[in-house]
């Protein structure tokens, strides 16, 4: 897994690539925690761009859920961009579709924070 970090105005975008399995989970958690720490008043507007994620395991999904809760508690928001079929199925299986806002274009995802 590789993560590229971008900032657009008050929104942070993580472009994730590869498989989120094994030790990647912890690595992803660290990236998100770091963004949380540096967010103004801890309020993080986060887009996870999943376009190039081929696969994610239950630990990866766990990080998403944990981040959802932490970020929400600080009045921020986490949204998912460009979910491929595999990740979409995973989220559907885990009955988490209603939890995560999903967008198909970066413009829409960013607009959702305005």
């Amino acid at each position: 897994m590789q993560v590229n970090i971008r900032h657009k105005g008050s929104v942070t975008i993580l472009d994730i690539e590869g498989k989120i399995i094994g030790t990647d989970t912890l690595a992803l958690k660290k990236v998100i925690d770091k963004q949380l720490e540096t967010a103004p008043e801890g309020k993080l507007n986060l887009i996870l761009n999943m376009a190039r994620v081929q696969m994610m395991d239950s630990s990866g999904l766990g990080i998403l859920v944990a981040s959802y809760s932490t970020i929400k508690r600080n009045e921020g928001r986490i949204v998912l961009l460009n979910l491929g079929g595999n990740i979409r199925s995973l989220i559907v299986m885990a009955k988490l579709v209603t939890i995560f806002d999903r967008y198909d274009t970066e413009a829409e995802a960013i607009a959702s924070f305005l």
């Binding site: 399995i21 094994g22 395991d57 239950s58 630990s59 859920v65 944990a66 959802y68 939890i99």
Partner: protein
């Protein structure tokens, strides 16, 4: 091709999950599984391997996670064994229970069972046997 058995044995480090990933990915490619099924088996194997290493062997490098891949014309059978104390499947909470939906863990076994055609726990759960057919079989025919 008859039955072919491939075995892989790993020291219990999460570092090696990527190795397990490339092995199962290549076996599925070699067997020509449909792409959607490949992803399901791949996920189930990663979940079972992670559990063996993390929960079973507690990431003790002296303990091993053993994998047996049994390739046949119509199906792939995977046997995962750890050297831990085992556990009881029935004690694991249902991750789809509304009370558990926002928990950050507890979805691994559920996903294994969703993704494979069968998942059996043996020797107190220290041995897991999972089967995936290349064509979804007639439910009548599985035993």
């Amino acid at each position: 091709m008859g039955e072919q058995v491939i075995t892989l044995s790993l020291p219990s480090s999460m570092q090696h999950v990527s190795l397990l990933d490339v092995v199962i990915t290549e076996i599925l490619r070699e067997m020509n599984f449909a792409e959607e099924l490949q992803m399901q088996v791949n996920l189930a194997v990663i979940e079972a391997g992670t559990n063996a290493i993390k929960h079973g062997n507690k990431e003790d490098l002296g303990k091993r996670a053993d994998f047996q891949f049994i390739l046949s014309e119509e199906k792939l059978t995977i046997i995962i064994q750890d050297q831990g104390p085992g556990f009881t499947r029935e004690d694991v909470a249902d991750p789809l229970d509304p009370a558990n939906l926002l928990k950050s863990s507890g979805r691994g076994i559920f996903l294994m069972e969703e993704c494979m055609d069968s998942v059996d726990f043996e020797a107190k759960g220290t041995i897991i046997k999972m089967v995936k057919y290349k064509e979804t079989p007639d439910p009548e025919e599985i035993r």
